[in-house]
């Protein structure tokens, strides 16, 4: 049997083996690994079409082995293309990419409020009036009317059932001003009275400050009531507001500021705490210091491995554990950032220690200095600048991470973000986005400046 | 015929690199521009093909005003002017052949060349150009695998691809040792004999004497001398290079 046929057969049995035996070690093992990888992936995500890819690679491999035995080398571009085609095809399917889901109307509905971030608001004064109304009716409902500070409001009839139409009237409010009318249940839930009970009912008062309209008792008025047959007092609210000049921080705005402060604080505390632990640990994780005897070497190995494992677990995952231990809030987030930073900084620091120049140590030792003096004059001057640079770099990363650690309950601005998204407050979300960009860009700038001055 | 008329250049930072420089270059000349470093040689050469826009003055080449050419016209003019650089300006990671072929970009089909497809004719021309400078066997090496002298020869081959009528050489040998300098300048001399006008800036006076048919000297952006190499005597030299340049002259002459 000729050599090329036998090589081709060997490669047909074990892809790449023929090439390997011809002395093409890299090519052979590359083909085998690539083939197995693609095969495993297609088997796992079985869709008949993708089996073409490992099949084509296998065919190519036999052909290649045949030609290689003849001394002809071909480019590996072709099997690479087969592999990539399968990878992207499967990926497309697995990641459920579906651009038709990208609903532009919804995008606009989300983006439009984001153009008006809820940060500051014009200062306004409020004019509020309410009137009690019994739902459902008791046998002797009290009069549904109320007077206060020159304003009067009443409901006709005095009580109602769910979905029943009532006449409400108010007088003595500001004239010619838009007035929000809404329902409040006995446990304090506010319900809207507009179209479909999902919009606010807003009407203007007349020139005398009076207003009369009909409303329907909201269908959800009794949802949370302990006993729907028990008559209870609900309230109908009338609310007006008007600007009185100037601006003030809105409620969301102040929450965003608090969140921003908590975020920066978390990063600062975490970095500080991490440095405290990472510095001693880094000495234990420095190979050149610890490889002296088996015991210290064992310590080195353990510390190194622990640091490596911790480093590959994102701080977000660590945060979940701390949320379980110490509860929701910035403390949990801070601890998670600190723990992850200890691992990351410990590794960087220990590499600095491993890389110090032995020259100065020798020189100082030659002057007859003792151990402490050697550390003080030959080691510390060498490690302080890189340690500081790495610490600032870490603080930079921590600020970024702190913005998301709240997403799992770790406090800070991320927590606010997820709450705002949950209640569909896109103006607030926009304010959070602005705050995050401001924090990150400003701190980026300063830490870059600081590092520049250090080196 | 190239006429440089009252050309001045002021850089945006206020440096006046050229002050009212005028001279003519007849077809077939080997004109050498000399001057101290910073005297404006590079600026002058780059004004000719408008890699640098002159602030004032006119440059007319064969009755075409280069200084007022539109971008499209300028490209037409540039492809007739080859340029050779001190630092070779090759794409180091591309092959020698690709570097040479890129000299043809002013002529090539824009779409095919964007995809890296070249007509057979251009490839043959490139191989011929490489043969002419004696490194045809290196065509498929990466440019940075070549020595400095070889890279400069690639630079010349790239200029040849343009089928130029004029070659601008900005200190083509300043980064090379003296032996290589001669070999490079000999190639330029050969091209000059074949009918291509050469304008070359140089540093060393012995090279000037050996290759130039005419010399223009700049000092602080002002033309201080124009004539044959033999006219540069001790006094002229001092005027161009300054008093303290004695030693250099001794060394280079």
């Amino acid at each position: 049997m000729s050599k090329q046929v036998s090589t081709a057969i060997i490669s047909a049995l074990v892809p790449g083996l023929g090439q390997f035996l011809l002395g093409e070690r890299y090519r052979g093992s590359g083909i085998l690994i690539g083939f197995l990888l693609i095969l495993a992936t297609t088997l796992w995500y079985g869709q008949p079409l993708w089996y073409l890819s490992p099949l084509s690679i296998w065919l190519w491999n036999v052909w290649d082995a045949f030609h290689l035995a003849l001394g002809r080398r071909h480019s590996v571009l072709l099997p690479l293309a087969f592999g990539l085609a399968a990878a992207y095809g499967i990926g497309w399917q697995v990641v459920e990419i579906d651009f038709s889901r990208a609903n532009m109307e919804r995008a606009i509905a989300i983006l439009r409020p984001m153009t008006r971030p809820d940060f500051i608001q014009p200062r306004r004064e409020l004019n509020q009036m309410w009137v009690p109304v019994e739902v459902p009716c008791s046998s002797q409902p009290p009069a549904a009317r109320r007077d206060e500070g020159g304003r009067a409001a009443f409901v006709m009839p005095d009580c109602g059932r769910v979905s029943e139409t009532l006449i409400v009237s108010v007088s003595g409010l500001w004239p010619n001003t838009a007035t929000d009318i809404y329902w409040q249940t006995p446990i304090g839930n506010s319900l809207m009275l507009g179209e479909g009970e999902i919009t606010m009912l807003t009407l203007p008062t007349d020139e005398n400050g009076a207003l009369t309209t009909t409303i329907r008792v909201p269908t959800t008025a009794l949802v949370a009531a302990p006993d729907p047959t028990l008559p209870q007092f609900h309230r109908v609210y009338f609310e007006q507001s008007r600007p009185i000049g100037g601006y003030e921080l809105s409620f969301i705005g102040s929450e965003v500021l608090k969140g921003a402060l908590a975020t920066v604080s978390m990063a600062l505390m975490a970095t500080g705490l991490a440095v405290l632990f990472a510095v001693p640990l880094s000495f234990l994780a420095a190979r050149n210091l610890m490889s002296g005897n088996p015991l210290t070497y064992a310590i080195y190995l353990i510390v190194r491995t622990l640091l490596n494992i911790l480093r590959s677990i994102e701080s977000l995952i660590i945060a979940i554990v701390f949320v379980v231990i110490v509860g929701l809030g910035p403390f949990a987030g801070m601890l998670a950032l600190a723990l992850h930073s200890v691992a990351a900084l410990g590794k960087l620091y220990s590499e600095v220690i491993e890389g110090i120049d032995p020259g100065p140590i020798e020189a100082i030792r030659a002057t007859g200095a003792n151990w402490l003096q050697v550390v003080r004059y030959a080691v510390i001057p060498q490690i302080i600048p890189p340690f500081t640079a790495f610490t600032i770099y870490r603080w930079d990363i921590n600020v970024r991470s702190a913005t998301v650690i709240g997403l799992v309950g770790g406090g800070g601005i991320g927590f606010l973000l997820i709450e705002l998204i949950r209640v569909n407050n896109m103006r607030g979300v926009s304010a959070v986005f602005i705050a995050i960009a401001a924090i990150v860009i400003v701190l980026d700038y300063f830490s870059a400046k600081l590092r520049e001055r250090l080196v | 015929m190239l006429r440089i008329q009252n050309v001045s250049k002021t850089y945006p930072n206020g440096t006046q690199a050229l002050k009212n420089v005028s001279f003519d270059v007849a077809d077939g000349e080997f004109l050498v521009v000399i001057g101290l470093s910073g005297s404006g040689k590079s600026t002058l050469l780059r004004c000719i093909n408008r890699l640098i826009e002159p602030t004032e003055g006119k440059i007319v080449w064969d009755d075409v005003d280069i200084t007022t050419a539109s971008p499209a016209e300028l490209r037409q003019i540039r492809r007739k002017i080859g340029m050779v650089f001190q630092q070779f300006n090759l794409v180091k990671r591309s092959s020698v052949l690709t570097n040479v072929l890129s000299g043809r970009l002013g002529y090539a089909n824009p779409w095919a060349s964007l995809l890296g497809i070249w007509p057979q004719e251009d490839k043959q021309r490139a191989m011929q150009a490489l043969e002419r400078v004696g490194i045809a066997e290196k065509a498929h090496s990466r440019a940075d695998a070549l020595s400095g002298g070889q890279q400069q020869r690639v630079g010349i081959a790239r200029a040849l691809m343009q089928d130029p009528k004029l070659i601008l050489a900005d200190e083509p040998v300043a980064s090379l040792d003296p032996v290589l300098s001669h070999s490079i300048l000999q190639y330029l001399e050969q091209l000059n004999k074949d009918g291509i006008t050469v304008i070359c800036s140089l540093h060393f006076l012995d090279l000037v004497h050996r290759y130039a048919t005419r010399v223009v000297a700049l000092k602080d952006g002002v033309k201080v001398f124009e004539g044959t190499p033999n006219e540069i005597d001790r006094a002229k030299f001092k005027e161009i290079y300054g008093e303290e340049a004695q030693e250099v002259r001794a060394a280079s002459l």
């Binding site: 995952i317 403390f331 | 890699l51 003019i77």
Partner: protein, 377 residues
């Protein structure tokens, strides 16, 4: 030390201390609580260290007896056989809310036992779990409830499943799910890095000062792209994913998009810096040749930036794998989503499996990308 410098240093120290004091209060740091509650973490940690990797098949056997509530509402079961698997309640029937003991004899030994009621309408309720001993015996207190009362003369039945592990060990469901989700994660990183590269590579030229910053329009374009990159880069992909998730509802797709957007910005910035750092010589040479500007970029700039580009792409692919492991926490799909579900269901061992998978994959990517980049340079 001269006085002004001393003053300055004191001031800086004071500021740093103040910053830490404020941070300490803002983060509500409570270290005593951490120490006190640390044992809570022990349970988690042990669960994480014993990930759910293998399982054995369970064989289920079911026996049942009729149990009338209240007494007399239906016929009671004949007295059970004295041998073989059997259920023996302490009483034959019971009034509502009465408690009684249920014993099982000669069932499968050392098995998990699930006790439940099968109501007259065939629905089941109230599963109690216990364990048989080595002889196949169990004993459990059960309460009769009004809802389990006899209907139309049909009594509820007490059903007992014994679950016995049989056969060899095999990969657990959790392991399979983790692999499934890991695939999603890796592909999410692959696809987003690829798409981001395809978009960022051309855009980066627009944000490179040496290419674009010419004339009025050029400068405007340059600043526009530069600021776009800088702004988008400042967001963590997870922050982006919250909004994309809100827009596109949950799943890997919004996570993929969020990752892509942030990667475009980040790669765009890195790429444009690579473009700015090229040797300008070849560009000049090609301009002198009379090449159109697009060709100048193609022949003088692109070949120079390719190694940097490739290195940045691999670096980012590494980062993106890391991020896509957690993007699921905000609804982005993949292993993070699975981990989040496991944790919310208090399935710590399952979470442990996911965490180990993440550690292994991140390590592998770290190693691979470092190797490849070493080769490149």
């Amino acid at each position: 030390m001269p006085l002004p410098r001393l003053l300055r240093n004191t001031l800086i120290t004071a500021l740093v201390i103040a910053a830490f004091v404020i941070s300490y209060r803002v983060t509500e740091a409570d270290f005593p609580r951490l120490l006190r509650d640390l044992p809570k973490g022990r349970e988690l940690l042990t669960a994480f260290l014993t990930p759910d990797i293998v399982q054995r098949d369970l064989e289920t056997r079911t026996i049942s007896i009729a149990f009338p509530i209240p007494c007399g509402s239906a016929a009671v079961e004949d007295s059970p056989p004295s041998q073989g698997p059997r259920l023996v309640p302490g009483v034959n029937c019971a009034a509502p809310l009465e408690k009684f003991t249920l014993e099982g004899f000669d069932l499968q030994p050392n098995s998990e036992v699930v006790i439940r009621w099968r109501l007259p309408n065939e629905r089941t309720m109230t599963a109690i779990r216990t364990q048989t001993d080595a002889k196949g015996y169990f004993r459990q207190e059960v309460q009769a409830r009004p809802i389990q009362a006899t209907v139309n003369g049909i009594p509820s039945r007490l059903e007992v499943d014994t679950l016995t592990p049989v056969g060899g060990l095999k990969p657990s469901q959790a392991l399979k799910d983790v692999m499934d989700n890991m695939f999603v994660t890796i592909f999410m990183a692959l696809l987003s890095t690829t798409l981001a590269t395809l978009i960022a590579a051309p855009l980066s030229f627009l944000a490179a000062s040496n290419i674009t910053r010419k004339g009025c329009i050029g400068t405007a374009v340059y600043y526009a792209f530069r600021s776009f990159f800088n702004l988008m880069r400042s967001y963590d992909p997870l922050v982006m994913a919250t909004v994309f998730g809100f827009w596109l509802s949950f799943g890997p797709f919004p996570g993929f998009l969020a990752l892509t957007v942030v990667t475009i910005a980040s790669l765009g910035k890195l790429f444009s810096e690579a473009v700015e750092n090229i040797d300008p010589g070849p560009v000049e040479a090609l301009q002198a040749v009379g090449a159109p500007s697009l060709h100048t970029v193609r022949y003088a700039v692109v070949p120079q930036v390719i190694p940097d580009f490739v290195s940045y792409i691999i670096y980012h692919w590494d980062i993106n794998v890391r991020i896509s492991t957690i993007i699921g926490f905000v609804g982005g799909g993949g292993i993070g989503y699975y981990l989040n579900l496991s944790i919310n269901d208090f399935k710590w061992n399952q979470a442990g499996t996911a965490i180990w998978a993440i550690v292994i994959v991140v390590w592998m990517m770290d190693f691979l990308s470092a190797e490849v980049r070493k080769r490149l340079t």
